[in-house]
Assembly symmetry: C2
Homo-oligomer: 404 residues x 2
C-alpha cells in the first residue's frame, strides 16, 4: 500500500557508536509483536527534542520534557500499543513508574530516562507489562539493532521507517541514523508522531537543541496525512559524543544538513506510508509574501478532503485546489494573479483556466504515484513545500476499524 517505500535493508543502517537499542515483546496490546524499545546512551551523550503543541499532550510527553532539562539522559524507552494520553494524573504516575523501573536496572535516576508512548488514546497504560518487558529489552541492547527498533515502534504503519548517512567533518567521518513511525493522526506541529535520529558526533546540548528545531521545521513539520496533530508527537536528536566533535561552525552546518536529509527521508516515509495512501504528493507554493502564507495555502490544499479524494481518483478536478487556495485565510489574496501547475502542466493562468490546458495532460500527470502541485502566487519572493498523500477508501477503512 505504501507509495514507493521499500523495507529498510538492515545492512544499510549504520550503527551509531555510543547508541545501543534493545527490543522486546511486552504484550502491551497483542502478544507476539515487538512493542517495546529501549535506547541506551553513554555518559557523553547529549539529547535534544521537540514535542507536540497539542494541549492534550500525553503523560510521557510531559515527563520527557521535564526530564530533558536534566541534560544527563541515559536511556529512552518507547512503547507502542498505548499512547498514555488523555489519562490525567494516573497516566503521569504510570509513565514515571516505567522510568523508575528502567532507571533501577540501568544504574541511573528516573529523571535520566525519557519515556515515549504511541497507540490508542485514553486507555490506561499497562505499566506492569512494560516493566516486566524491560529485562528482555535491556538484554537485547546492541548497536546494530536499528531495523528491529524501527519495527518495534510501529502502530498502523505498514512498513518500518529508517535511514542512514555518513558525513565527513573536519575531525573525521560521523554517522547519522534514524527511525520514525507514523501513518495517521499526522500533522506534526513541531514534530512527528515519533522520530529518533542519532549521531556519534559530539555536539553541545544547546547547539543540538537549535539544530533539532531548524531540522524539524524543514522535515517533520512539512508533512500532513489528515491534519490531526497527535497528542504524542516527539522528535528526538541524540549526539552520543563518542565520535569526533562538531567543533566549528562549518562542521555543525555539514552535520545539520546530513541530519536534515535523514529526517526528511523519514518524514517523507511517514507520508508514503500514510493511512490508505496511494499517492505521494509534493505541494509547493511559490512567490508569496512570506513563508507563513505559503505554508498556510499549502496546508489548506493538503488538508482538503475534496482535493485529496481527487488525487486518489487521478481526477484533475483542479477547481477544488483553487477553492482551497481561496479559503486558506489570506485576506488580501488576488485570485487574478494565481498560476497553477500540475507537474509541468500549466493548468491555471492568472486565476482562470489556461487556454492551452489539456485535461488529458493533467490526468497523465496525476496517474503517477508521485507528482507535484505548484501554486504561484506572484506577489512576493517566499515559498514553502510540504508533502502529503491522497485520501482513499482505505483511509476510512483503517480508521473505522482501528482498535476493533
Amino acid at each position: 500500500m505504501a507509495v514507493n517505500l521499500s523495507l529498510p535493508d538492515p545492512k544499510s543502517l549504520t550503527p551509531v557508536p555510543g547508541v545501543e537499542l534493545g527490543i522486546a515483546m511486552a504484550g502491551i496490546k497483542k502478544s507476539g509483536r515487538k512493542d517495546l524499545l529501549v535506547i541506551g546512551l553513554g555518559p557523553s551523550a547529549t539529547v535534544a527534542g521537540v514535542f507536540t503543541k497539542n494541549r492534550f499532550c500525553a503523560a510521557p510527553v510531559l515527563l520527557a520534557k521535564k526530564h530533558l532539562t536534566s541534560k544527563r539522559i541515559r536511556a529512552l524507552v518507547v512503547n507502542t500499543g498505548n499512547a498514555n494520553a488523555g489519562t490525567g494524573q494516573d497516566g503521569l504516575r504510570r509513565a514515571l513508574q516505567v522510568c523508575t523501573a528502567l532507571a533501577g536496572k540501568m544504574h541511573a535516576k528516573p529523571f535520566q530516562i525519557l519515556p515515549f508512548s504511541t497507540g490508542v488514546i485514553m486507555e490506561p497504560l499497562p505499566a506492569g507489562r512494560i516493566v516486566a518487558g524491560l529485562p528482555a529489552a535491556i538484554a537485547d541492547l546492541r548497536a546494530d539493532n536499528w531495523a528491529a527498533a524501527a519495527e518495534a515502534i510501529m502502530t498502523t504503519d505498514t512498513m518500518p521507517k529508517a535511514c542512514s548517512r555518513k558525513v565527513k567533518l573536519s575531525g573525521g567521518v560521523v554517522v547519522v541514523t534514524g527511525i520514525a513511525k507514523g501513518s495517521g493522526m499526522i500533522r506534526p506541529d513541531m514534530a512527528t508522531m515519533l522520530g529518533f535520529v542519532a549521531t556519534d558526533a559530539r555536539v553541545p546540548q544547546q547547539s543540538l537543541q537549535s539544530m533539532v528545531r531548524r531540522v524539524s521545521n524543514q522535515s517533520f513539520n512539512c508533512i500532513t496525512v489528515d491534519g490531526d496533530t497527535s497528542t504524542n508527537d516527539a522528535f528526538m536528536l541524540i549526539a552520543s559524543g563518542v565520535g569526533v566533535a562538531a567543533s566549528s561552525e562549518q562542521d555543525r552546518k555539514i552535520l545539520e544538513q546530513t541530519i536534515l536529509e535523514v529526517s526528511r527521508s523519514l518524514a517523507q516515509a511517514v507520508i508514503r506510508d500514510g493511512e490508505g495512501a496511494t499517492k505521494f504528493v509534493t505541494v509547493t507554493v511559490e512567490r508569496g509574501r512570506s513563508e507563513a502564507e505559503c505554508r498556510k495555502i499549502a496546508y489548506a490544499i493538503a488538508h482538503s478532503p475534496l482535493v485529496k479524494t481527487a488525487f486518489f481518483a487521478s481526477d484533475p478536478n483542479l477547481g477544488r485546489i483553487l477553492a482551497a487556495v481561496g479559503y486558506a485565510g489570506i485576506k488580501d489574496l488576488d485570485s487574478g494573479r494565481i498560476d497553477l501547475f500540475l507537474e509541468d502542466v500549466f493548468v491555471v493562468k492568472a486565476g482562470g483556466r489556461n487556454p492551452s490546458y489539456l485535461e488529458s495532460d493533467a490526468i497523465a500527470a496525476m496517474r503517477k504515484p508521485e507528482f507535484t502541485v505548484r501554486v504561484v502566487l506572484n506577489r512576493g519572493r517566499a515559498s514553502a513545500t510540504i508533502w502529503t498523500c491522497d485520501f482513499s477508501y482505505d483511509y476510512v477503512k483503517i480508521n473505522a476499524e482501528y482498535r476493533s
Copy 2:
C-alpha cells in the same frame, strides 16, 4: 442515505405572496433534469444576502454582490451543473450575459438581476444554453413552485431541501418559506452553498441585511461537512413586501426568529444530506471564555477525519476528540479541566477517563443516527453549537467519482 431527512411535502410549503418561481431543463450538464430556476419579485421587494469569503469566489458571486447594491432587485437566476468559478474575466462576461438576457425578458435592467451558479469549478459556463432555457423558466413562474425549485438547485444532494413556517406579527400573519442546496464542499463562511429564504412581510433593506447576517451566523455558519468553504456560497433573504409590515422592534424580532427556524432547518438538512453521511452529529462546546474559542474547538472536532471516521464506525475512540480539542489552537487551554459527554454518557472527567465510564454506554449512544458530543471547558460562560456528519466510504466514493 440522508440521515432522518424526508422529502418536503409540496403541500407543506406555503407560497409567499409576491414571490414566483419558474423552473426549466436547460441541459446545462445533463439533459432531462431541472437545472435552471428563476425567482421573480415585485417592485416592493427588498433583498439582502451574505456571500462566501473564499478569495476565489465565483463570477456570479462578484456580480450578485455588485447588483445587490442597486436595492431594486426584480429576479434571481440560479443554474446548477456549473459553478462559473475559477473562470476569470470570461466567467464574469458570461454571468452578465445571463443577467442581460433575463432582464430583457422581464422589463428590467441587468443590475436588477442576481445570478447564482453551482456545480463544477473551472469549466466555462454554457451561457447560451442557460439563455435558451430562460423562456421556459419564465413561462413556469408560479407562487406554488417551491418544491420544484428545491429540486432544480441540487448538485450532489440526494434530496431537495425546503421548509416553511407562518408567524403572526402585529398587523397579521406572514409566511417564511425557503430552499437550500449543498452536500459537499460545505463549511460555509458567512453562508452555505445556496440558500434562499423569502417572506411576504415588508422589511426595509437595511433591517433585512442585519437580519440575514445574524441568522446566517446561527444557521448556515454552524455547519460543516468537510471543511471546504465553497467558491459559490450565498444565502439570500427576500422580503416581498406585499404582506404586512414588520414595523415594530417586536415584530422584527418575531419574524427574525421564524426566519432563523427555517434557516436552521435548511442548514441541518444540508448536513443530514452531507456527502456519504450516515450520522447527524451535534457538537456543543460549553463554558468557554468566548463564543469564538468554543466554535474553534467545535470545528476542530467536526473537521477531524479521525473523529469523523470513528463516528461512522460507532467506535467510541474518543481520545481522538480530546486530541482535536488539544490542537484547536487555544494556547492557554488547561486539559486538566475538560469534561466530555457523549449524549448523557460522562466519558472524560477533568481531562482523564471518568472512572465510572463504560464503553458499552458510549457505543449505544453512537449507534443512533443522531447524537450529541458535548465538551465542557470549565473556564467561562460562553458556548457554541455546530452540526456535522460522519465520514464514510461513500464520501470518498462520491468525491472520487464526481464529474466522471
